[in-house]
């Protein structure tokens, strides 16, 4: 048994290593096991417990991508428009043509999906019609969504092939091949054990990034972020460190949500047709419509891009016409009146009770704390409106954002520049990604992340079959791995006792202070809430300078126990993600996402010079960053 000063080292050899246990990882486990011949080893490692890990921990009220009769080409068009034109049609089309099968599986595994009257007993696979809350979304009773998807993955792989409460902190490159992955290092959150994994193929699906920017709350509420606080950007950071190409890290998502509780707005706008108003009761989306004309064609499509909808709201707030309200009251009252007209007052009562229950379910089953805000503030949604607020920025690749890793596209769709052998493989041999990890696409959500994980899982099996004779050989010795992982513990042990309290000691920085410094830098210089998302080039240069000092200090982060050691690594990963974000934003000399951020030195969209991807890469030997352009092309015509 190891102890804090001397952790035990355990080496585990596998063929496929899946890092993460979220939607993408569970999909990968399911599909890979089906294709893998007997004897091919697949191991899944999650830093938490599969049943409730990842962004779906609380459940969801909608599956945001289910095509049904829709054309995958239209789905690709929608994603492209929402992300201001710069997405990869090969990835989005591929997702669109695959995704429904995952949704069918969820239903078979017991996820209750709302059906149209008359179709209640009929599954989606049999043609049962879902209740849509939008063109691409369907409503579910999703409190147990994650436990259901996790159980299927767990059974597919077998209990012995799942490790929980192990956090991966670094990937390992192979000693005998240039630019090839050969495993990863992890730390146990429960015992003093460092795991050294060797693998032929690695799926990095550890989710997106929250908490890079200072959140709006000040005290206890800082954990009540929109994306979960355990989404530490580990996917982007660990891949970047071994030299994988990142793409579109300048893209961020600033979700407009119910203020303070972060309750999602999708069902309210799309399903209940609720309107948003300013302090005077004006519909600012209508009164500010002309602002959309500044950004053709993205502002003029039937549903303007998400960032532009923010742009209109921010315009109101800056001009002093906040707070912004979402009129849940008028929307629900209109429905109630409709019920009364249709079936009479008596029978409408039951329908209206159901309406109220559904309204609460949207939060209880997906974002419970929003119900807590309503309870504390005496809000009944059919009686009073709620406030909306754009949040601090988030970085992710599966929701309404498109940052992430640059991966190889599908062989039958992607042009040669966009494919290099294995679908979903990054620019590092043997390293794959999915879900929030894959950039230049977006709008995959829960179902698409699962499907994309499956696509990657299948490709990894092929990779292992093709590389059967590859013996992974890490560049580092096991002892070096331990030194790297336990460095924060050593900082603690060497310096404790210098001051009478562990709270303040000039020889170390606590993980929570490291995080707060990152958030302050990002907030003030890289377009957080305190500057209303405005930046300029000099602010970002300043941020990058400050981040270099922060990175130096990160080597002095202390960990006095395993919990702090996890936090120390999460923050270390976040710093790298913050740096990638600032470097990409500085490189792109335009404002591609008005409403998400404004570069005041270049406050316009420059279709001629910047309708391209921005990619970046760290040289793993020197640590040097390089940003560069990659040409964009439309594989699907967008004018339709």
């Amino acid at each position: 048994m190891g102890n804090l000063a001397n952790p035990e080292i355990v080496q585990i050899d596998t063929d496929i290593l899946i890092i993460g246990g979220g939607m993408a990882a569970c999909g990968a486990a399911y599909e890979a096991r089906a294709w893998a011949p007997e004897g091919m080893r697949i191991l899944l490692v999650d830093k938490a417990a599969l049943a409730r890990s990842g962004a779906v921990a609380m459940g969801l009220s909608a599956i945001n991508v289910y095509l049904g009769d829709e054309d995958p080409a239209d789905y690709a068009r929608m994603v492209a428009n929402d992300l201001m034109g710069i997405t990869r049609d090969d990835l989005t089309y591929d997702l669109g043509r695959h995704v429904d099968d995952s949704v069918h599986l969820f239903e078979e595994w017991g996820l209750p999906i709302w059906k149209q009257p008359g179709d209640e007993g009929k599954s989606l696979r049999e043609g049962g019609q879902p209740v849509r809350s939008g063109r691409w979304q369907i409503m579910i009773h999703g409190e147990s969504y994650k436990p259901i998807v996790a159980e299927a993955a767990r059974k597919a792989l077998g209990e012995e092939n799942i490790q929980e409460h192990v956090q991966i902190v670094k990937l390992l490159l192979d000693a005998n091949h240039d630019n090839r992955i050969c495993g990863a290092i992890g730390l146990s959150a429960r015992t003093h054990t460092v795991f050294v994994y060797t693998a032929k193929a690695v799926l990095l699906a550890a989710g997106g990034a929250s908490n890079i920017f200072r959140p709006r709350a000040l005290g206890e509420g800082t954990g009540r972020t929109w994306y979960p606080p355990w989404s530490a950007g580990s996917t982007y950071a660990m891949a970047a460190e071994v030299g994988a190409e990142l793409t579109m890290m300048e893209n961020r998502f600033v979700p407009t949500r119910f203020k303070d509780g972060y309750g999602p707005v999708g069902a309210w706008f799309l399903h209940y047709q609720a309107k948003a108003t300013n302090c005077r009761g004006n519909l600012y989306m209508t009164t500010n419509q002309h602002l959309l004309d500044d950004y053709p064609p993205y502002g003029q499509s039937e549903v303007p891009a998400t960032c532009l909808r923010n742009h209109l709201m921010l315009h109101e707030m800056r001009d002093g016409r906040g707070p912004i309200y979402i009129r849940t009251d008028t929307a629900l009252q209109a429905r109630a009146r409709l019920h009364e007209e249709q079936v009479g007052q008596q029978r409408a009562q039951a329908l209206n009770a159901e309406l109220e229950a559904h309204a609460w379910e949207d939060f209880l089953g997906m974002c419970t704390p929003q119900a807590g805000v309503w309870a504390g503030e005496n809000i009944e949604p059919e009686k009073s409106p709620s406030e909306l607020m754009p949040t601090e920025p988030y970085l992710l690749g599966s929701h309404a954002g498109c940052c992430g890793l640059w991966v190889s596209g599908p062989a039958d769709i992607a042009p040669p520049e966009w494919q290099w052998g294995y679908r979903s493989m990054t620019t590092v041999e043997g390293l794959f990604s999915a879900g929030d990890g894959v950039g230049a696409s977006g709008h995959k959500f829960s179902s698409g992340s699962h499907a994309e994980g499956r696509i990657a899982g299948k490709a990894m099996v092929k990779y292992c079959l093709d590389h059967a004779d590859f013996t992974p050989t890490p560049q580092q010795s096991p002892a070096q791995c331990v030194d790297a992982v336990y460095a924060p513990v050593r900082v603690y042990l060497e310096n404790k006792g210098y001051a009478t309290s562990d709270a303040v000691n000039p020889h170390w920085i606590r993980p929570d202070m490291l995080l707060k410094r990152l958030q302050k830098i990002m907030d003030e210089y890289v377009g957080g809430v305190s500057t209303q998302y405005c930046v300029n080039d000099q602010m970002m240069r300043t941020a990058i300078d400050k981040l270099q000092l922060l990175k130096e200090d990160a080597r002095r982060v202390r960990a006095k126990d395993l919990h702090e050691l996890m936090r120390a690594w999460e923050t270390t990963h976040r710093i790298l993600v913050g740096e990638a974000h600032a470097r990409h934003m500085l490189y792109r000399k335009e404002t591609r996402y008005p409403g998400f951020y404004y570069n005041m030195d270049h406050n316009f969209i420059d279709e001629h010079n910047w309708k391209c991807f921005v990619n970046s890469k760290i040289d793993p030997t020197t640590g040097e960053w390089r940003c560069f352009q990659k040409a964009h092309q439309d594989l699907i015509p967008k004018s339709l």
Binding site: E31, P112, E220, G372, K462
Partner: protein, 140 residues
């Protein structure tokens, strides 16, 4: 908006691995070995996701809306049954509401993920599609 544990309800899971600590996605719930009861060790990092609340066999965990944002006095509490969840919502002004929603149509533990599915056909591993895909997928 952190979770908290009721002193007179938690029994520390009687020496077994505490369920709340096992399930917390953020490694926040943990056992205080001295008092043999669980506690939230990092309230300002808690997502208020209710995973610990739902899993506790003693119903010893609750959530208090975060004090820096939300007025006191509300309460949102789930009661999980085999295939449904019943939420009790109490507003600050004393108004009470109760809602029940289905959660699953197949009992926990009864999922058979590959039942009725075809064997993967390795000769098709280079084509687009899952092992479950019937026919050929479209292209743009």
């Amino acid at each position: 908006m952190p979770s908290y544990v009721l002193s007179d309800r938690c029994d520390g899971c009687q020496g077994r691995e505490p369920v709340c600590a096992q399930i917390c996605p953020s490694d926040i719930m943990t056992l205080d070995p001295e008092h043999n009861r669980a506690f939230n060790r990092e309230p300002d990092a808690c997502w208020e996701c209710y995973s610990c609340v739902k899993s506790c066999p003693q119903q010893a965990v609750e959530v208090s809306a975060c004090a820096d944002v939300v007025p006191l006095g509300g309460r949102v509490f789930p009661q999980c049954d085999e295939d449904s969840v019943t939420w009790s919502v109490q507003l600050r002004n004393g108004v009470n509401k109760q809602f029940t929603y289905p959660t699953r149509t197949i009992a926990e533990g009864a999922i058979a993920p590959y039942a009725g599915k075809p064997q993967a056909d390795l000769s098709k591993i280079d084509q687009a599609g899952f092992f479950t895909t019937v026919g050929k997928l479209p292209t743009p």
